[in-house]
Amino acid sequence: MSTILIIEQVLNGLQSGVMLFLMAAGLTLIFGVMGLINLAHGSLYMVGAFAAAAVAGVTGSFLLALLAALAAAAAAGVLVETLVIRRLYAADHLDQVLATFALILIFSEGTRLIFGSFPLYLDIPSWLSGPVTLPGGIQYPLYRLALIGAGLAVALALWVLIERTRIGIQIRAGENDREMIAALGVDISKLYTLVFALGAALAGLAGALVGAIQSVQVGMGEPVLILAFVTIVIGGIGSIKGAFVGAILVGLTQTLGSVFLPVLFRLFLEPATAMSLGASLANMAVYILMSLVLIFRPAGLMGARA
């Protein structure tokens, strides 16, 4: 087991972690401010990826594709929030789950209706393709490195937005006491739409960025959505900081687990058994991590309320 492999896998884990953070941040923000559980968040991720693939196909520009992903996902978010989600804030969680499950069905079939069942491909732009040599002589794909950078930059921007701006003050106030800030003259329904659109745009951005290294297809948002749920349960629902810590933990656990567990088991089991047992456990590792967090910190690592 070489150091180079370990460093590569840690970078891969970080990359999937920061992308997961973009999803989880939106989910946890929407839950924290509006108290809404949004299953359709994965659909917004898919909308972003499809918009990016379509625009990249026509214009050939990756940056335009990213802008299109942000715009399309935010627009879909505003549309869905005003038509459906708004009526659900006061409803119980069961209704929220069902209505957003219905939205998934509509989004997935609608996308299939427009784009067909075959996956689309989004190419990595030439200025981001190819490997770079890191200090220590490690070759690593530039695009994945760029994803880590982009994810961290968005995380920082989100922190500035929430901790240092007027909108951020309103969002934090909305988490604490929505009646009070409505009484202070903040247009709460506009704030809700804005938060939802922000979460949607983050999901769409993640979809477009990840879409360039995976295929863009219907249902691509669902595995990510479930991992994002696991992430915010680990981090503590409603906490952006928790979402960040959770996302990195989940990304690292999943990537390192799938590489190193089979190797670890080979030390004391025959190769075939070690392979299959290692693969099963690696798939289950994030859920085991989540159960452990639940046993010892039921409110999540950074969560205040359960």
Partner: protein, 326 residues
Amino acid sequence: MIRESYLNAALLAGLLAVPLYALVVDEPFTITLATRAAILALAAVGLNIALGWGGLVSFGHAAFFGIGGYSMGILAFHAQNFVPLDLGIMVFDGTKSMPIIWLVAVLASALAALLIGLLSLRTSGVYFIMITLAFAQMFYYFAISWARYGGEDGIPIYVRNDFPGLNTLVPIQFFGICFVALLLALWLNARLVASPFGLALNAARQVPVRVQTVGLDPTRLKLVAFVMSGAITGLAGALFADLNRFVSPSMFSWHLSGELIVLIILGGVGRLMGPVLGAVMFVALEHWLGGLTTHWHIALGAILLGVVLFARGGLIGLLCGPRGQT
């Protein structure tokens, strides 16, 4: 307003009459559809105990459905391939006998429900929804990577399992088995709701603090309900696997968990026959709309949105008025 008991009786009579009519006019496919509806109804009756009476929004009941299915798949796989199942302490030949398979399915899913429930009930609300979803997903990934039992491809079972005295390959006889299982589960559900346990559970859903003040433990009540719920859904899983003669990781998929909740909502939450009406509607929609267009999920989504936003209480709520206090 229609009396709920009349509606319930009509519904069961209808579910029985359709396959009998199909038998007379020789349309075995319709019998299979009715069997599918009965099995999905059974799974949803199980979920309704946790969701309707316990107030536990489990988004992971596919876990129990799949465990039931894999219990059947594994036992039948060893029997049909003549490979003994080595359990470490004893060696077992596998079996093709339905009663034994059902017993294993019920016990295995009850055990899983106990473990998942113990962990998940430490939390409530949104956490509970996400955690049950995540546990089901854990089983899904486990099944996918379990190469010995087919991994992603699942296990085909060549001949339907046996039930003493019946020929299960005849569609109407297998329907009969599933219908009787559904009736038994409904009877159990009705008895449960009227029992002291059911009353306490109902109270624990509505005002847990008061239940605690009178000396009952709401979490324990909910755990017992969750285990019973998982066991019934597990039985449905074993029957479903036998209907298709095939088990695959898709039985663990989260779409299935979602669809089971959808069945209950379409029919009516916390109504004895809500799951049955929902399952009949779902299978009918799937068959008719699915025949018209491959994009029928859009229509299903729209109907579901309509029910959630405008017809709370489902179809039974529309027909019979809001749910009573029991």
